[in-house]
């Protein structure tokens, strides 16, 4: 038995989607999709353009509320929740079109990722000294740790708007990691990168998975990358699930091949 399969059997389900339906007005974005994500695995979502991958990520993240279906996270069923509450549950994400705070420094951007861990109220913050300062120092330490991990010490104080694309993606990953999430959602983390940047990003994703044990759900177009780093793959087409399994299984699935080669529906 191959190594990823062993990993699967030992782990429990961190996230489970059951019969999710999502439509915008008359347009059906997702119909009847069910799949699960096991604790500690790297789960990829693939599919042609417009297949509903990003919509699915937004459902998990709470930006979209599905009209039907159940979402179970960490053993509890989720009832309609605001995106910021979902961040408190331990789900972080990055965006397809980088969504960083462009005017702020790299350090400040990653510090915002610690928001869910900072609880001192505004009065303490206004006083600045005391508990709020202590809290800031502790969280700052953790952020420096992340900065070391992502090898971006040199640009800590640079406003992110000035950084090249590849580095911005890395900072965004850093912000998501700073929250110490149980599950990390990555929306096309390698889009628009050159080969070298892609290799770096792959290494970071696998390192995150290994060292922090973070469960990762990622959308990616680069098939080579997906086959290399994913434990299991979900394939979507026209809002439906057309394949689910290990990379090897998915690669040889006739429906999947048809979807990618464009057989008429």
């Amino acid at each position: 038995m191959s190594e990823p399969l062993q990993k699967m059997e030992a782990a429990s389900k961190l996230l489970e989607l059951k019969h999710i339906d999502l439509s915008f007005g008359g347009v059906k974005a997702i119909s009847n999709i069910s799949f699960d994500v096991l604790e500690g695995e790297v789960r990829a979502i693939i599919g042609p353009n417009g297949a509903g991958k990003s919509s699915l990520l937004n459902v998990i993240n709470g930006f979209y509320h599905p009209q039907q279906g159940e979402i179970w996270f960490d053993g509890k069923q989720r009832h309609s929740m605001k995106p910021y509450q979902i961040a408190y549950q331990g789900i972080s994400r990055t965006f397809q079109n980088i969504a960083l705070f462009k005017g702020m420094s790299v350090l400040d951007n990653i510090m915002t990722g610690r928001f869910t861990h900072m609880h001192k109220n505004m009065l303490w913050q206004a006083l600045w000294k005391g508990p709020a300062e202590q809290e800031e120092i502790e969280n700052r330490e953790f952020v420096e740790h992340i900065i070391d991990f992502l090898e971006i010490q040199a640009i800590r104080k640079t406003p992110v708007g000035r950084l090249p694309y590849g580095l911005q993606k890395r900072v965004e990953l850093g912000r998501a990691l700073a929250a110490q999430p149980k599950m990390l959602l990555l929306d096309e983390p390698m889009a628009g990168m050159n080969v070298e940047e892609k290799e770096d990003m792959c290494r970071f994703i696998l390192d995150v998975n290994d060292t922090f044990g973070t469960t990762i759900v990622l959308i990616e177009h680069d098939m080579g990358v997906v086959m290399d780093i994913a434990d299991r793959v979900v394939v979507l087409d026209y809002g439906r699930k057309i394949g689910d399994g290990t990379p090897d299984v998915v690669r040889n699935d006739q429906t999947v091949i048809d979807a990618y080669l464009g057989v008429s529906h």
Binding site: N61, F63, K82, P83, Y84, Q85, A87, Y88, S92, R93, F95, A99, L100, F101, K102, G103, M104, D108, M111, T112, G113, F115, T116, M118, K120, M122, Q125, A126, W128, A132, E135, E136, R175, A176, A179
Partner: protein, 333 residues
């Protein structure tokens, strides 16, 4: 020193202090615009409402007394007590926070993701509603606001500078209003503390994050609704400070809400998104209009203060539409 030179300095100093008063109003606009992209037309009325509430609480007025009297045929106007100034200010801050919560709950929350023009229209509605509400609540008579701020010219300064002019010239010393000086100090403290708060605290960072990108802010666990309540509360507090200063200067009356109009040219100069811009824009306009009136006014019949700020703003719109400190909008094609 020649008397003319001393007069010029006096004009500049007075201009700077007038500018601070404009900046105080502009500051409230910038705070809300940065955090939510809303041009809050009601900022001036908020200053009026805050000042009315402060006077009302302080002098122990019964809120809605005219309404109550009209309905029940009673004749109540005052509780008959005086509330100490600091307590009254604290209570007014409380009222402004409640106001912020109501605005978020009943207006902003329903208009999320709407066009800026729609939100702008909503704040126009809010402005007129508040004006009427303030009227019903506290009455429409002109009130004097006395929070113990000094007023009148500074005699000390006048005497101190009396001997500065060259001999043989007529000079009566420099005239600076004490209230203006206090206002300047308060404004400096306010801006410094707001800047520190937004740079170095968790909530401040969250405010900047929301200003930058709503979606990303949500994804790291920042609640937009909470942030909006905080921003409107801070804007309410700034409005209160502006209301106190302007109210102490010229009485609390409904024309107070028109000071918002003076903030517009300040914003066009300083840019809508910059707190230092609001301050420096205010100072430039204050100094500019006083100097212009002093140097060129007599040649063209005076009363230039009424229009100078707007003409200056118009010139900025033509040559530098983003203002002195606003973010330049560059779009990638």
């Amino acid at each position: 020193m020649s008397a003319d030179f001393l007069y010029t300095i006096e004009v500049i100093l007075n201009g700077l202090m007038a500018g601070v008063m404009y900046s105080l109003v502009a500051l409230g606009f910038v705070l809300i615009f940065k955090a939510s992209g809303i041009f809050n037309y009601a900022q001036g009325v908020m200053a009026l409402f805050a000042a009315l509430t402060l006077v009302g609480i302080q002098t122990g007025q019964v809120p809605f007394s005219h309404l109550i009297n009209a309905i029940f045929g009673t004749n109540v106007h005052h509780f008959g007590w005086q509330v100490p100034t600091l307590l009254a200010i604290a209570l007014t801050i409380g009222v402004m926070v409640v106001f912020a919560i109501i605005v978020e709950r009943y207006i902003l929350h329903h208009l999320v993701n709407q066009e800026p023009i729609i939100l702008f229209m909503a704040t126009i509605g809010l402005a007129y509603f508040m004006e009427g509400f303030g009227d019903i609540m506290w009455g429409s008579d002109i009130k004097t606001l006395d929070v113990g701020l000094p007023s009148g010219g500074s005699l000390w300064l006048e005497e101190y500078t009396l001997g500065w002019a060259a001999e043989g010239e007529q000079y009566y010393g420099m005239y600076l209003d004490k209230l203006d000086m206090v206002a300047s100090l308060v404004a400096i403290v306010l801006v410094v503390s707001l800047t520190i708060f937004s740079q170095y605290t968790t909530t401040g960072r969250a405010l900047r994050a929301v200003a930058d990108d709503h979606q990303a802010a949500l994804s790291v666990g920042i609640s937009l609704r909470t942030i909006w309540v905080i921003v409107w509360s801070i804007a309410g507090f700034v409005a209160l400070v502006a209301g106190i200063m302007w109210g102490a200067k010229s009485g609390v009356q409904f024309s107070l809400s028109l000071i918002a109009l003076k903030a517009l040219p300040v914003l066009m100069l300083g840019g809508f998104t910059s707190i230092p811009g609001a301050i420096i824009g205010g100072l430039i306009i204050g100094v500019g209009e006083k100097l212009f009136e002093y140097a060129i006014g007599p040649m063209i019949g005076g009363a230039t203060e009424n229009w100078f700020a707007y003409v200056l703003a118009l010139m900025f719109l033509v040559f530098r539409p983003q203002g002195l400190f606003g973010e330049k909008i560059i779009e990638r094609v």
